[in-house]
Amino acid sequence: MVKVLFVLGSGGHTTRALILSEQLNYDKCYIVPWESEISKKRINGKYYSVLSPRFRAKDNKIMTVFRTLFLFMHSLFLLIMIRPDVLISTGSGITFPPFLIAKFLGIKTIFIESPSRVYEPSIAGKMLLGKTTLWISSWNELAKKNKEIVYGGLIV
């Protein structure tokens, strides 16, 4: 059975990931930012909490660097332990570290950009261009911008 690991965030990112997750009939588990209590309540399955790099918007930069490094280490540990076949993210802010680790471990990655990005990719999206197995946009306008981007439509 194919094992899928979803990288969740909060709010709309999680909503889309969970809709997609229901449509895929595979073995599924989830990474959730530790502080997203609401996201955790909505998951129907096994999940792992991780420290998110931007805990609060006003956090100082040194702490953010520490948290990011910790998330890299934690991602390495989780990916070795879970051994998923693929990572899927719908645009969560915590996507970059686990995706980069997955690339080094030879695990496939799918990034699905937020539907609010019609013309320009998000910061996470830009950082991941060229580093994922699949980079999917919700709009044709964005797909035309870059050869790496595949148009996929809207998750509703």
Partner: protein, 156 residues
């Protein structure tokens, strides 16, 4: 009834104050109902709540919906072809929500008011305008399935 919703994390005092004044001097005959989030301006001439629990009912009952550019609110309403005016929040600098607003304005699914001072003109326009129902292109699941089925073939 006109329902106004500003972001719960990013309130918009300018918009609420402007509408409250317009209502106060009799320029808007409709009942106004607003979710003001953590906004500091307390309206005098309209019904308001900090957080509206049942947004769906409010959307359905409203003749016109006025909202900030939040992707969630936009999507929830354009798929039903509701009379929606989105107002750019001056407090959000360098945001990306305008991308979705601009795209859907081009498709005639909403009205985009770039300056809260001009809101009365947009309310009058919204009364007579034909709003097109947005029919999203459903996400192409086979993009993911094809990638994962390759996995299975490699396993055997």
């Amino acid at each position: 009834m006109i329902f106004i919703t500003t972001g719960t994390s990013l309130p918009d005092d300018v918009l609420i104050k402007k509408l409250d004044e317009l209502k106060g001097c009799g320029k808007i005959p409709d009942v106004l109902y607003a979710q003001i989030g953590n906004g500091k301006y307390i309206p005098k001439n309209m019904k308001w709540r900090k957080f509206v629990r049942n947004m769906k009912d409010a959307y359905e009952l409203a003749d016109i919906i006025i909202s900030n550019c939040g992707a969630g609110t936009i999507m929830e309403n354009v798929v039903y072809g509701r009379r929606l005016i989105v107002v750019q929040n001056p407090g959000v600098i360098g945001g990306h929500e305008w991308e979705l607003a601009s795209k859907l304005e081009k498709l005639d699914c909403l009205l985009w008011c770039k300056n809260a001072e001009e809101i009365l003109f947009y309310i009058e326009t919204a009364r007579y305008k034909q709003f097109k129902k947005f029919e999203p292109a459903i996400f192409n699941l086979s993009l993911i399935r094809d990638l994962l089925e390759d996995d299975k073939k490699n396993d055997t």
